[in-house]
Amino acid sequence: MSAIFILAGLPGDHRVLQPAGPQGANIEWLYWVVFWILLVVYVLVVLGFTHAGKRAYTPARGILPIIKDRSGDRRAAWVVGIAVTLTVLTLFAVLFMTVITGKKVEGLTSKNPITIQVIGHQWWWEVIYPNSQPDQTVTTANEIHLPVGKPVVILTNSADVIHSFWAPNVNGKRDLLPGYSSAFWMQVDQPGTYHGQCAEFCGLQHAHMGFSIVAESEDQFRAWKEQQLKPAPEPSSPGAGHGREVFLTHACVMCHTIRGTDAGSRMGPDLTHLASRNMIAAETLPNTRGALAGWIIDPQRIKPGNHMAPNLLEPGDLEDLLTYLETLQ
């Protein structure tokens, strides 16, 4: 038993058991209730077997004769009957708690919620804050901003294979199935950044398909959204200007969008506000100049099999490109 607590105490967070929202908290409550029930059951059954074993143990080298005495069976039948009944009652209790927790988790709702569309791609997440006016639509990648304490609706679908959207601190997971679009609710109560990851095997880079949920105050969220709505600024320095030129004449432009320029392909993440994100490559690398450079030159070393091609840029071109990308706040 002590082993459980030693192992449980190792550094790192038990994300499932550190809920940041009401749904996660409900599930955590259910987890602990069921856990303790099951632990009691386990201890009782193990004690039963060890006690039975000790009681009946007969040291003998040879083969003992068969017992034909059936006098204990009547009592045993009663005991087994009672044990089975208790099992059934326990299961009913678990079923009951499951159903009410399920209702609570799925019952989250509000009027005029913020809607966020999450599209799974091999191996990154496209995040869209849809709006009836195209110029009011925010498109970003791998980073979901939302206001704390407010239920939001997540609309999901998949661009290719099945993915599964899972932020353990917030809520359980939901599969993203091609051909289906589903909606579910989510709410985060504590400000902070929460890690999430694809949970359904989706091919070569399933391991590197993370995202983060940034929960912030209403004001911060609104400011973030305002910023994201702007097109990319004009380059302010000659280096950045040349960097944009590099972007538009090399492979970058084939896959990425930077609003305000000619780059408009939707194959890869929208880079209009790349510099505002904390991580790149679906939560694989920190968004630093060095990491970005390494990623641009040889993404296949970092995420073998991903869909971004290596770019053999001249050192000067690369420096300018990085300078330009850093202006995309």
């Binding site: 492979a251 296949q300 099999g305 091609a309 290596p310």
Partner: protein, 177 residues
């Protein structure tokens, strides 16, 4: 059983190769002369073309297919049926059907609308697209050609198309129109 295994060994190894960190075939040089003329060096004997290693891997050909869609080749050539650009699934080749001919077409562009993708499409990806384009007209064995995509059905999949013998294999332009 042994025969089957033998066959699998012969075809299997390369077909399943997944080179996740590809480097373009170094020896390939593009004959720039091809751009200018419609009938390049018909009388001179060209050196034997280096094989396109991407044609031996089913993974590369399927990558080529994905890129073909995503780089919007579909826009002009449709799924091989042609539209603004010429069809790719028949056996008429204006600039030749050898891998390096098609590669040159992609990288350098051609008159009358085919843009140049130099610098924009990395060479290894261009070679993958070349392999896919060749599979469209049945020039590749069916066990590397990709199966159908999960999209609206337009044509039989590449792997189930009959193998065709193109008429323009030497780089001789087909006398179309």
């Amino acid at each position: 059983m042994l025969l089957l295994l033998g066959a699998m060994i012969l075809t299997g190894c390369k077909r399943e190769e997944r080179d996740l960190r590809p480097s373009p075939p170094a020896s390939v040089t593009i004959n720039t002369a091809q751009v200018s003329g419609l009938n390049p060096g018909a009388n001179s004997v060209p050196p034997p073309p280096p094989p396109n290693i991407y044609e031996e891997s089913a993974y590369s050909v399927s990558e080529g297919k994905r890129l073909y869609d995503q780089y919007n080749c579909v826009g002009c050539h449709a799924h091989g049926g042609g539209g603004i650009g010429p069809p790719l699934m028949d056996n008429n080749w204006i600039y030749g059907s050898e891998p390096q001919n098609i590669f040159a077409t992609i990288i350098q562009g051609r008159p009358n609308g085919m843009p140049s993708f130099r610098n924009r499409i990395p060479e290894y990806q261009a070679w993958e697209i070349v392999a896919y384009v060749r599979s469209l007209s049945g020039l590749l064995p069916s066990d590397v050609a990709p199966a159908h995509n999960d999209e609206l059905y337009m044509k039989p999949s590449e792997q189930s198309m009959p193998k065709q013998t193109p008429t323009g294999v030497t780089g001789q332009p087909e006398k179309s129109q």
